[in-house]
Amino acid sequence: MAVLYIVVPLALVFAGVSIGVFIWATRTGQFDDTQTPGVRILFDDEDAPLSDDSAEGDGPVQSSGR
C-alpha cells in the first residue's frame, strides 16, 4: 500500500504537466481553428514555388524561392 503514496502523487504531476502543455497549445493558437486542419490532410506536400504567368502583375515575379 505504500506504493500508493508514490504513484498517486506522480500521476497528479503527470496530469499537471499535461494541463501545462494544453495551456501552451491553446495560447499559441493551435485550437483556434479546428475545422480547416481537417481539410488540409487532403493536400499533398509540394514545396516547389510557382511563378505567376497570368496577365496581371506589377512587375517580374522572382521564382527563386523564399
Binding site: Y5, L12, I19, R27, L50, D52, S54, E56, R66
Partner: protein, 819 residues
Amino acid sequence: MLGGAVTPTIETPARAKSIACAHCALPVPRGMVEPDAERQFCCRACAAAFDIIHGCGLERYYALRERTATNVEKAAGTGESYARFDDPAFHELHVRDIGEGLSAAELRLEGVHCAACVWLIEALSRIESGVVDATLDLRQSIVRVVWDDSRVRLSRVGALLDAMGYRPSPAGGLSLREHRRAEDRRALVRLAVAGACAGNVMLFSGTLYAGAFQGMSDTVTHYFRGLTALVGVVAIAWPGSVFFRGAIASLHVRRLHLDLPIAIGLAAGGLSGLVNAVRGAGEIYFDSVTGVIFLLLIGRFLQHRQQRRAADALELLFSVTPTSARIVEGDALRAAPIEEISEGDIVEVAAGECVPVDGVLVSGVSSVEQSMLTGEPMARPVRQGASVAAGALNLDAAIRVRVQAAGERTRIGRLMRLVEESAARKAPIIRMADRIAGRFVAAALALALLTVAIWWATSPALAIEHAIALLIVTCPCALGLATPLAVSAAIGKAGRAGMLVKGGDVLERLARPGLVLLDKTGTLTQGRCVVVAFEGDESIKPLVGELEKQSAHPLARAVVQAFADGQSRSVSDVRQTTGAGIEGVVNGQKVVVGARAYVEQRTMPAPTHLQHMEERLTHDALTPVFVGVDGHIRAVIGIGDPIREDAQNAIDRLRRHGWRVGLLSGDHPGVVQRVGARLGVPEADCTGAATPEDKLRIVEDALQHGPVVMVGDGVNDTAALAAASVGIAVRGGAEASLQAADVSLARQGVTPVVDVIEGSERALRVIRRNLRVSLAYNIVCASCAMAGLLHPLLAAVLMPLSSITVITLSYRSKTFEAT
C-alpha cells in the same frame, strides 16, 4: 402546370444544349457565348479565375474540388483594383507589423466554399514570392496573410485573391477579434482543467466507494479523501470561479441568475468537504462538485460558440464599407478619412475603386456595378447628373462625385445601423429557459432553507449536510445543458439540410405563428420569363424566334429560348417600338410580334379563338404576345414567370401551422394580385410595386400586431429583412445582405421556408421535453436530499445520468430534415 385553365401546347424552354463554364461548370448564359473561343465562361470572374489557375500551374485545384466540394459556385471576384489596401489609413487599422520586416493582415473572403479553396488560397505563398504565408480559416472565411511589404504590396495580394475568385475585404475590428480570441482560449483552458479535475476525482472517488463496500483502512481512506479535496479545491477555485463571478454580478443586478445556486452549492460543498476531509468524518461531495463544474462549462461553451457565430455574420456587412476617400481641392486631391467628408464636397473615384459616398456625378463618364447592395451584377452606365451610392464599384473611368451623404448617412450606412439595431433588439428576448431558470433558483434556495429548518431540531450538522446535498444535486446540470444542447443539435441538423440558422433565439421566434411575408419573384415563382403557352400555327415558331433575336427585351429572350432551333435565317427591315413590339422580314415573310394593338395595327383584327386565348392567359397572370405573319394573326404566345409547383402545398402547410400569409413584391400589382388569388391569399394581403422603403414600412407596421417573418432574396429588401422578427434570405441575393438575415436558405422556393418553420417547432418541443426531464430529475433528487436519503454515491450517479439522458434526447430527435 396551370391547373387546366390553358389547354394548348406548353413549351419547355431551353431546347438547345447548354454549355458549361470551364471554371465553375454552371451553364453559360446565351449572351456570354463566344462562338470562336476555345473555352466558354459564364462570367468575367470565372474567366479571370481560370486564367490565373492555369497561368500559375495550379490545375490541381479542379481535381481537388471534384473530390471534396458538394456544391460549386461562380467565382466571386469583381476586378476591383484594391488600391485602398495600400493607404496608410488602411494600414493603421488593419495591418500589423510582426517584426523582421514582415506585415500581417486578416482579410475576409467571399466565395470560399470547399477544401479545394483552402488549397488554392494557401498556394498564394507559392505564387507570389513576397507572400510568406497565407492561412485560411474555413469556418470564418478569413485568411491571415503574412508578407514582406518591400517585395509585394497588399493591393497586389488583394488583386490576386480577387482574380482567383475570392473577393477580399478587411476583416475589421482587429483588437475586438484579438480580445474575443483571448476570451475563447481562456474558456477552452477552463473547460480542459475542469475535465481533468473531474476525471481524476472520479477515479479517486471510485476507490473510496469500493473501499466503503469492501473495507479499507482508515489511513488510506483519509488519504484519498484528502486527494479528492485537493483536486476538488483546484476545480472550484480555477474553472469554478466563473460561477462565483456570475453570482456576484447577479446579486448586483438583483436578477436571479442560474449562477447563484450553483455558486452557493459549490461554496458550501467545497467548504464542508474540506472541513470533513481534514476532520476525517462526514460526507464529502467533491465528485459531484467537479462533475457539475465540468458539465455546466460544456453547456456554456456550446452556447458561447453559437452566439459568436451569429455575431461573426454581421461583420461582413461592416467590412465592405469604404473608410477613406479622395477630396478634390482646387487642382489637387487629398486623401481623407470618411469622417472628414461633408455634404457638398467633391470626391474623385478612380476606375476599379468603390464609391465611398452617396452622391451625384459632376464629371466623368463610366459605368458602375452595385452587386454588393443589390445582388445584380449588371453594369449601369452613368454620366453627369447620375446618382451613385456608396459601395458601388466604379468600372471604366475616373469620376467625380458631389457628396450628398457620407459615412453613416449613406444608404448602406443606414442599412448597417438598422441591422445592428435589429440584432441588439432581438437578442435580449427573455428566453424560455432563462425564465424557468429564474423560478428554479428561487425554488432551490427555498427548499434548502426548508431542509435546514426541518432537520435543525434533530441535529444542526445533519441539517447543514442535507441542505448541501440538496444544493449540489439540484445544481442544474440538465437545466444548464438542456437548452444549449438541443439548440446546438437542431442548428447543426438544419445546416446539413441546407438551412443556415443564426441562433437559438431564431428557432424560438420561428415557432410562434404570426405573419409570413413572401416575396414573389424567385420565391413563389421560378424567377424567369418563360414561354408557358402557345396557341396557333406551330410552323411559324422558328420565324418568331429568329425575329426576336434582334430584341433585348426579357420577353423576347424567353421566346428565343423556346423557339430558336439553331438554324439562322435571313432577317431584314427590322423595326422595334419600345414597349409595343417588333416587326421585320424573315425568310421573305413579314413577321410582326408584340402587344395585341401593335400587331392588329399592322395586320388585321385577331380571330375569336385567339381572343379567348388572350383572356385565359391574362386570367392566369401571363403576358399575351401576338404573332402576325404576312398580314394575318397566326398565334398567341403566353409568357410568364411560372408559379412553382410546390407553392400551393407550402402555403397550405403554413396555414395549418397557424401562420397568416401575405405577398410583398416589387412586381406589377396586377400580377401580384393574380398570383395571390391563384394561391388563395386574400387581396388585402397582397402588395405589389413595393419599393425597399415600402417593404420596410409594411414590415414595421405589421410588427405592431405580432411577429413578422419576412422572406426575400436580399435584393433590395435588406432593410425589411433586418427589421422583421425573423428575416429569411433565399439563395441568390447579395452576399452582404444575406449576412444580415437570420436564416439563409440554400434551396430555392417556398418549401424550405416551411421546413425551417416546422423544424423550429420540433426543436422547441425537444427543448421543452429536455426541461421537463431535468425538472423531474431535480424533483426526485431534491426529495431524496430533503429526506436525508441522498448518499454521495447516489448523487454522483444520478447527475451524469440526467445529463446523458438530456444529451441523447437532444441529438436523437428528428428536428430538421430535408423534405
